[in-house]
């Protein structure tokens, strides 16, 4: 009676949306994390200009992801959000502050330093919260009859603090390699300089997370260690990406560090997905159990099949229009 495995299709759509969001909002959050450490105010202008035309397009993926999750996997939506209640608030507050900082910093003169802090603080809090969400997902949730029954701060554990820090380091790396690609002169030199220490930080934190994760949960351990499976390709690829970042920074390449960092994120993300597949609310519920009704998934899918290509084309076009280096003094004042 049901023609397609719609929950599976929806899992791919939402999985795609998540990685799109992480990669795209990741670099502009990263620029925000690096903001207070920038060499000077002129560099900050350029940093903000480099992400200004694209950041809010990037963030709309988050809103679509939230609404799509409610429509396609309501159980995920109605367990994650209560379980991460305080974290979600911090995430939203961080995103709001950095969002308005974008708008007002360019208009401000004497109050500019306030908006600098709003931008940096908001970006940092939002990034940490996202990392903690990932950690909480790996940890799993305490549920009964499809409802979250744990406490307000169950998500905040040493493990999720570590994944939060990992996300901070990872986004900062995306930010610094983005700046290498989009800027020149002193700012680019500064970005080169901080990229290798950031890479080291990412490798250390991701390494600890990688070793720790199998001990957080039996199922994950089994999946990775029960027999030598094909999934070990993923961490190997992650390492290759890291090596590629190192070499391209050493050789002062422009675009490759950013591309390799995206590769590092994608392979890590896939490694995470295979660890828990097909559980979307670990440890209890699979994507089929968490799915909404067939006709509801179908009703929305028809619209999205029409809209997502348009959004992708438009996104690509925006990046194309704003391609090339952002120069100091160009853009907003």
């Amino acid at each position: 009676m049901e023609l397609f495995d719609l929950p599976l299709i929806w899992a791919f759509i939402i999985g795609f949306g998540i990685i799109m969001y992480v990669l795209m909002d990741g670099f502009d959050l990263g620029v925000g994390i690096l903001f207070p450490f920038a060499p000077n105010e002129e560099a900050r202008d350029t940093m903000m200009n480099s992400v200004a035309p694209v950041w809010d397009g990037n963030e709309t993926w988050l809103v679509l992801g939230g609404a799509g999750l409610l429509a396609a996997f309501p159980m995920v939506y109605s367990i994650f959000l209560p379980a991460l209640y305080i974290g979600v608030f911090l995430l939203l507050a961080g995103l709001i502050f950095r969002g308005v900082a974008f708008e007002f910093r360019f208009k401000a003169r004497t109050s500019r330093y306030l908006w600098n802090w709003a931008f940096a603080g908001g970006s940092t809090v939002a990034s940490f919260a996202q990392g903690a969400v990932v950690g909480a997902y790996i940890q799993g949730f305490e549920t009964a009859n499809g409802v979250y029954v744990g406490g307000a701060l169950d998500w905040l554990t040493p493990f999720t603090v570590l994944t939060g820090l990992g996300m901070l380091a990872g986004y900062a790396l995306l930010g610094s390699t983005w700046l290498i690609m989009k800027t020149e002169g002193n700012l680019q030199q500064w970005a080169y300089k901080i990229t290798l220490p950031l890479l080291l930080a990412v490798l250390v934190v991701f390494g600890i997370i990688g070793v720790w994760t199998p001990f957080v949960d039996e199922m994950v351990r089994e999946r990775w260690f029960s027999n030598l499976s094909i999934i070990w390709v993923l961490p190997v690829l992650t390492l290759l990406c890291a090596i590629q970042i190192y070499r391209s920074v050493r050789d002062r390449k422009d675009g490759m560090p950013f591309v390799a960092t995206m590769g590092l994120f994608i392979t890590t993300y896939l490694g995470l997905v295979v660890s828990r597949w097909p559980y979307v609310v670990p440890p209890e519920y699979t994507l089929w159990e968490a799915a909404s009704a067939y006709e509801s998934q179908l009703f929305l899918l028809l619209g999205l099949l029409f809209v997502i290509p348009i959004v992708l084309v438009y996104t690509a076009w925006t990046y194309w229009v704003f391609r090339g280096k952002v120069r100091a003094g160009e853009g907003y004042h």
């Binding site: 429509a71 309501p74 939506y77 209560p82 939203l92 507050a93 409802v147 009704a293 925006t318």
Partner: protein, 480 residues
């Protein structure tokens, strides 16, 4: 004292949604106004229309930006505080709210950038088309949101099985019984809001003698619009009320402050509802008028609040008074619109100080009318979240504690206070700077995709600039 997560969540939702609602209700009306101005500019090539459109587009950009920011929070509220409701209603509300996001997405992606930044970069026809599409898009967005809300008021096209709503008919669910009335009522409310704000701001400029020609035209246009829309809203509101009487009689009873189901019910002008004793104190009313308005017969039967058990009654005082404030403002709107018509004789409408002062204050009135209107419909539904099918208490997130809810309630109040005072302050700056031509350096280096960058106004007051242009030579002894 035990903190009640239910009441705190209700306050939190009321706070964030009220804050959010004032932005879209204005942008929907304003988007249509801009589309009309663009159409006039396109047809007549009169530079006044371009000037007005360019100015109000700036205002639109700022308000739209604030609406988007506050809207992000809304899409997570259902999950954080009302997760049982989210889980139960996702089969219907999930796709509907997603379609709203998708519409907004599409609008933002394709047309907003062209409207805000494309005036000199695309042909005039394309710019006009973008303006029309943005206006259309705001209506499509509100179509989905109001459909979702109306379904919660008058659920249809769904059936409840094992605690989960399943859609049996999409068309019945989307076009549920109260939807057409609510949509029309909100559409007119948006026009009224846009109209009164534009008229009020124009009146303020006229009082200060700034850009008289353009602002005179803007005021005149708005007054014509309001003359038709304000009375139409009263008629439509009556139809909406009759629809509510049919589907949610208890809400109407609360609006009328009528406790016992009876005939010849008076229209109460004043009363202090006493829910505990199920009666009113200090009633002042017009005999039989409520019966006549609701049933169109003087001795028609009007339902009473006491017909349902106390635990199924809404808080009557809030509904009763919100309704009176809304209607009172509505009548005031009609009065101002008619006064505008009278003052057209001899062209006095743009030179009469007291009228312009009044219009200036009326610019904030629609926001109160909209908010109190929503209080009536939302509080009047209590204790139900999905009318007759799911209560607010059942909808609440089970793991939510009073402490958590209080933490985020205070958090949102602090965040909104900071962010939106900056936003409203900036909006005031945009209005203060006004329609006059600015220096070229203010408008260099536009880049699309960021609404506020369309506004070209510095954040702080710069005493060395010519911000105060025009204020030195007021025509009228106007207010400041």
């Amino acid at each position: 004292m035990e903190l009640d997560p239910l009441i705190l969540s209700r306050i939190q939702f009321a706070f964030v949604v009220s804050f959010h609602a004032i932005f879209p209700v204005f942008t929907i009306g304003l988007a249509s106004y801009i589309a009309v101005l663009e159409g006039l500019a396109f047809k007549t090539e009169n530079p006044v229309w371009v000037k007005l459109s360019a100015f109000w587009t700036k205002v639109f950009a700022v308000v739209f930006g604030m609406g988007v920011v506050s809207g992000i929070v809304m899409s997570f509220q259902f999950g954080t505080n009302w997760s049982n409701f989210a889980q139960a209603s996702a089969n219907f509300l999930g796709p509907i709210l997603s379609y709203e996001v998708v519409t907004a997405f599409f609008l933002e992606a394709a047309f907003l950038g062209v409207l805000l930044f494309g005036r000199d970069k695309v042909p005039a026809g394309v710019h006009l088309f973008a303006a029309i599409m943005v206006a259309t898009g705001t209506f499509i967005s509100s179509f989905w949101i109001l459909s979702a809300n109306s379904w919660m008021q008058t659920p249809a096209g769904t059936e409840l099985r094992d605690g989960v709503f399943y859609v049996t008919s999409w068309s019945e669910a989307i076009f549920n019984p109260s939807f057409p009335y609510r949509f029309a009522h909100m559409a007119l409310a948006s026009f009224l809001t846009g109209g009164f704000v534009v008229a009020g701001v124009s009146a303020w400029y006229l009082l200060r003698g700034r850009e008289v020609e353009a602002n005179k035209k803007a005021l005149s246009m708005c007054l014509w619009l309001l003359l038709f829309i304000a009375p139409a809203q009263a008629v439509l509101g009556d139809f909406h009320g009759l629809n509510t009487l049919e589907h949610q009689p208890t809400k109407v009873a609360a609006m009328e402050g009528n406790w016992e189901t009876s005939r010849n019910v008076p229209l109460l002008l004043f009363a202090i509802p006493d829910q505990e004793n199920q009666r009113n104190l200090h009633e002042i009313g017009i005999p039989s008028l409520a019966s006549f308005i609701l049933t169109h017969e003087w001795d028609g039967e009007v339902p009473g609040v006491s017909a349902v058990p106390v635990e199924e009654q809404p808080p009557v005082a809030i509904v009763f008074w919100s309704f009176r404030i809304m209607v009172g403002i509505g009548l005031l709107m009609i009065a101002f619109a008619v006064t505008g018509l009278v003052l057209r004789a001899g062209g006095r409408y743009w030179r009469t100080n007291w009228f312009l002062q009044g219009m200036r204050f009326m610019s904030i009135a629609p926001f109160f009318a909209v908010l109190t209107g929503w209080f009536v419909t939302e509080v009047g539904r209590a204790p139900w979240l999905v009318y007759g099918q799911m209560t607010q208490a059942e909808a609440l997130t089970p793991s939510l504690t009073g402490g958590m809810a209080l933490f985020t309630l205070i958090g949102y109040i602090v965040v909104y206070a900071l962010v939106f005072s900056a936003g409203v302050y900036y909006l005031m700056r945009v209005l203060y700077v006004g329609l006059e031509d600015r220096d070229e350096d203010e408008r260099e280096a536009d880049r699309p995709k960021r609404p506020f960058s369309a506004a070209h106004v510095p954040f702080e007051i710069d005493h060395n600039s010519d911000d105060t242009v025009g204020t030195a030579k007021p025509v009228n002894q106007g207010g400041h």
